[in-house]
């Protein structure tokens, strides 16, 4: 901060400093008025009444509202501007979805009400399941996984359960490309599988020959992201699927990038046996600073009987929530993946988006997402460095060779973008290219926004090449906090406030 920016308060105009709630408390203040419960009959507490206060601060409502308002102003969201975080799909979150999720007839429901009193809620689940099945061409969907990684694990559990049921329990090896999300190997490990990496070819796709060489009767499945994490469609996907199936293994697809192909490609037609769908990416539910998400997982006919509990089935005139395996004799659920019946609040939002878009709008959204990424790729190709030729799908990948000998790193470049009013792209992922910059503009962005972004990125690239490394190292300068010491945070963890 320069001298001229210093203030007595530490505030800088609209950039307001805000203490922790624990530093703002004033015993006796209260922001929730509750009636006096009268004397407490302690007999029924099993002799376990709390001995000491919790230690929470007391505040009144105006302070609390101001606290969180000020905190919110230190955040960048999609509502603030372009958020081209590759692989994360930061698209516009419609406000209608928020409105309908708050209808008391949907929000104020308990998961254990008698089923006759929640037929509308079961209809929400069933309708969304129908859309997901038709859009993917798959016969079944496990609705309850809470996020993408949770869906991966769900799909792999179904695959493991299938193999065990067929006397193929020795199939424990899972093939995972080097470019995969870290969740893929981690999910495989949770199912008792070992992970065997497969290399990519120079064009950024799976090396089919290398894959075939790794196949054997101990392989449980392949886990492949498609479009892959380099933003490329796997051109040999049909051959990959055939090879996997011939080896008696399954084809699991990480559906993080399903948003590129919705309405244009059904994953059943690619030979995929299971795939999770990140509702918070493809179907525009808010990321909320890190969740909640939802990861419904579509399953092939072979895997469908192993889907986890609970699930919704048609039952005469109504819908029935099946909570126990014994209710459906032909089912062999591998278990239960979470409490209750899935991320219902997320289902409502996703379904509202889907009903708004319709089949035509969903297809147009995929097309526009791919168009926008290709536009960035085409317009930035000369100024940055793209390791793979286009067309790309919904995201475009650059490496850091354009920064060679400038002294500027991918990180510096990203931080400079922050001062320009943009959220950075994904950095250093995927791991298969050096200093990766992965940009996913999504279909929500107008051409004007993209043109502005292109001008800024191009300007920064020229500036870096002109020898402004020291300047880049100082970025960001205009944020509530500048670069933070992550090494200190890890070496000496302070994970909570203490008096």
């Amino acid at each position: 901060m320069t001298e001229s920016q210093a203030t007595f308060s530490g505030n800088r105009g609209l950039m307001l400093e805000e203490a922790l709630i624990f530093e703002l408390g004033h015993p006796g203040r209260v922001a929730v008025d509750l009636p006096d419960p009268g004397p407490i009959d302690l007999d029924r507490l099993g002799g376990c009444r709390r001995a000491a206060p919790v230690g929470l601060p007391d505040l009144a409502e105006p302070q609390v509202v101001r606290h969180y308002t000020r905190l919110s102003q230190k955040n960048y969201g999609i509502d603030s501007g372009l958020y081209p975080l590759g692989s994360c799909t930061m698209k516009h979150n419609p406000r209608l979805s928020e409105k309908v999720a708050r209808l008391p007839g949907l929000a104020d429901l308990h998961p254990f009400q008698p089923q006759a009193t929640v037929q509308g809620a079961l209809e929400v689940i069933d309708s969304l399941a129908h859309w997901l099945k038709v859009l993917t061409g798959m016969p079944e969907v496990a609705m309850s996984p809470a996020a993408g990684a949770h869906g991966e694990w769900c799909g792999l559990m179904a695959i493991r359960a299938y193999h065990e049921a067929k006397g193929q329990g020795h199939r424990r090896r899972v093939l995972v490309p080097e470019s995969a999300h870290g969740t893929n190997p981690a999910s495989a490990a949770m199912c008792g599988f070992t992970v065997d990496p497969i290399p990519a070819k120079e064009n950024g796709r799976v090396d089919l020959d290398a894959l075939k060489a790794k196949l054997g009767d101990d392989v449980a499945c392949l886990m492949l992201t498609n479009p892959n994490t380099c933003g490329l469609f796997e051109t040999e996907i049909l051959e990959i699927a055939a090879a996997i199936h011939e080896a008696g293994a399954f084809f699991y697809c990480d559906g993080a990038n399903f948003n590129a192909i919705v309405g244009r490609v059904r994953i059943a037609d690619l030979g995929i046996d299971a795939m999770h769908i990140n509702l918070h990416k493809t179907f525009a539910t808010p990321h909320g600073g890190g969740g909640p998400g939802a990861g419904p997982t579509v399953l092939s006919a072979e895997l469908a009987p192993f889907a986890p509990l609970p699930f919704v089935v048609a039952d005469g005139a109504g819908l029935k929530l099946v909570e126990h395996a014994a209710e459906i004799p032909e089912s062999q659920p591998f278990g239960r993946v979470k409490g209750y019946h899935g991320q219902f609040g997320v289902f409502i939002r996703a379904l509202a988006y889907i009903l708004s878009m319709g089949a035509d709008g969903l297809r147009q959204a995929s097309t526009d997402a791919v168009l926008n990424a290709n536009y960035l790729l085409a317009r930035l190709a000369d100024q940055l460095s793209a390791p793979f030729a286009g067309p790309c799908m919904h995201e475009c990948l650059f490496d850091d060779s354009f920064l060679k000998d400038t002294g500027v790193t991918t990180l510096d470049f990203a931080k400079a973008l922050i001062d320009e009013g943009f959220h950075p792209m994904t950095m250093y992922f995927p791991l298969v290219v050096h200093g990766a910059l992965l940009m996913e503009p999504t279909e929500s962005e107008s051409k004007e926004t993209l043109d502005q972004f292109i001008a800024v990125v191009g300007g920064l690239a020229a500036k870096a090449k002109a020898g402004a490394a020291e300047d880049f190292k100082q970025s960001p300068r205009l944020t509530p906090r500048r670069r933070l010491d992550e090494t200190l945070a890890a070496r000496n963890p302070v994970l909570r406030w203490k008096a």
Partner: protein, 449 residues
């Protein structure tokens, strides 16, 4: 289409810049055989008005809790959420942000998570908490895995007082790991002998307090037995409001505390999304799953917050990570934290007392009914009733629903294979219940029984 800004002219101009004849050309890497050429059998786009009408139609097919005397708990609780919570939660900077990977533009989320972690640690009586898990059940499963990781042992004991969904989720997570679970029968009376089962092979004992059937137990003897045998005590909580009145698991010796945080800030939402709370001792922090916010300084020396200790996590460690979890329940954690901030020490204590008082009131009136017996020896805001030896609690609940009363959950919904539990009904009362609600339930139950 209101969410898509491009006009056809924009698209043409962009395709020209790309050098592609049409949008189809951008999809040329998709094998021709796999490209959809015909429209799918699905409806087309709709305006806000039509979509909202569709949801109102579905909403009308439900009996919402606010329209009925309501006494259902069993892990999801109906509490009043102050209006400020939802208004603040809808601020776009919170709602539409991603995981705070870029700390300079995410200090709002990061500071809020740091405050949340502190609140959870204080409430549970533990040293540290993570930035949340999917829900209480998955947090419970992760705790069992962590207990095995810490102790390098391969067996856990799951109490019969554990929520059946927590139990089932944990069993599922362990299914294909080296860890086995000894699962005890449902235990409405709290008579199970956990201490007698603890041996040198036990990684951890997982109990719930208050238990699924309501009972509160002093966990100190169990904690002592665990620690003598080198095992960890994992304590699950399904309504954190209870911790405003009863002793924290940490104060009673727990090593890991997991909880469902839904009851603060979020409403019921048919049971999802939930909020998994996860807290532990300092010495186990590096074995913990999930994201963590930590305090640090920026280059100007000012206090700030970052995600930290990420070498535990999947994006760094891949198959050797403590968990595959990537997403947490960020917005739900924020809602929880806002509600708890609004309550404060004073408000939480009063809310907890009020819940207990309502439940005592309910119990007092119900136990006067002929044949009805209270099973739970102790409780916070939920208890189990035995409706008489011949009664079928499931039928009673259906009969009361037909009269517009949502009267708890029959134990048989979770335990269809235990006929002795058929007459058992779980009932919860919170600050949202009025005296008229209680009287309506008592009168209707008297008629039905």
């Amino acid at each position: 289409m209101r969410y898509l800004p491009h006009t056809d002219a924009d698209r043409q101009e962009m395709l020209a810049a790309i050098g592609a004849p049409d949008a189809e050309a951008l999809f040329r890497d998709v094998p021709a055989a796999a490209r959809l050429t015909k429209p799918l059998d699905l409806p087309g786009s709709q305006g806000e008005l039509e979509v909202e009408r569709a949801f109102q139609g579905m909403a009308r097919k439900n009996l919402s809790a606010g329209c009925a005397p309501f006494f259902i708990g069993a892990g999801i609780y109906r509490h009043h959420v102050p209006a400020a919570v939802d208004q603040l939660l809808l601020r776009g900077e919170f709602l539409t942000a991603y995981t705070p990977y870029q700390p300079e533009v995410s200090q709002g989320t990061l500071q809020a998570l740091f405050e949340f972690q502190t609140q959870v640690a204080l409430l549970t009586g533990m040293d540290a908490a993570n930035a949340s898990m999917y829900d209480g059940a998955t947090a419970c499963a992760e705790a069992a895995v962590m207990a095995a990781r810490v102790t390098k042992r391969h067996k856990v004991i799951l109490s019969g007082g554990l929520h059946p969904h927590f139990r089932a989720t944990t069993e599922t997570v362990l299914r294909y790991t080296e860890i086995t679970a000894e699962v005890l029968d449902p235990d409405p009376l709290g008579f199970e002998d956990l201490i007698g089962r603890i041996g040198p092979d036990i990684a951890g004992v997982v109990v719930q307090n208050p238990g699924f059937f309501g009972g509160i137990r002093d966990l100190r003897p169990l904690a002592e037995a665990c620690h003598q045998a080198g095992a960890l005590l994992v304590v699950a909580v399904t309504d954190p409001v209870s911790l405003g009145l009863i002793e924290s698991p940490g104060a009673m010796g727990a090593d890991i505390v997991v909880a469902e945080g839904q009851s603060l800030g979020m409403g019921m939402s048919f049971g999802g999304p939930g909020l998994g709370l996860f807290a532990t001792r300092d010495k186990y922090v590096r074995q913990m799953p999930g994201r963590l916010a930590g305090q640090t300084i920026d280059v100007d020396g000012r206090r700030g917050f970052v995600l930290t200790l990420s070498t535990r996590e999947q994006h760094i460690r891949r198959e050797k990570a403590t968990s595959n979890i990537c997403t947490n329940s960020g917005l739900c954690a924020l809602a929880f934290s806002m509600h708890l901030t609004l309550l404060g020490e004073t408000g939480l204590a009063r809310l907890a007392e009020l819940n207990h008082a309502k439940a005592v009131r309910l119990e007092t009136k119900l136990k006067r009914l002929k044949g009805v017996r209270v099973v739970s020896q102790s409780y916070f805001n939920e208890f189990a009733l035995r409706l008489g030896d011949e009664a079928d609690a499931a039928q009673v609940v259906e009969a009361l629903a037909a009269r517009g009363i949502l009267a708890g959950v029959p134990a048989s919904r979770f335990y269809p294979d235990y006929p002795e539990l058929a007459p058992v009904l779980l009932l919860a009362a919170t600050e949202t219940n009025t005296e008229a609600d209680i009287d309506a339930l008592v009168a209707a139950l008297e008629e039905v029984l």
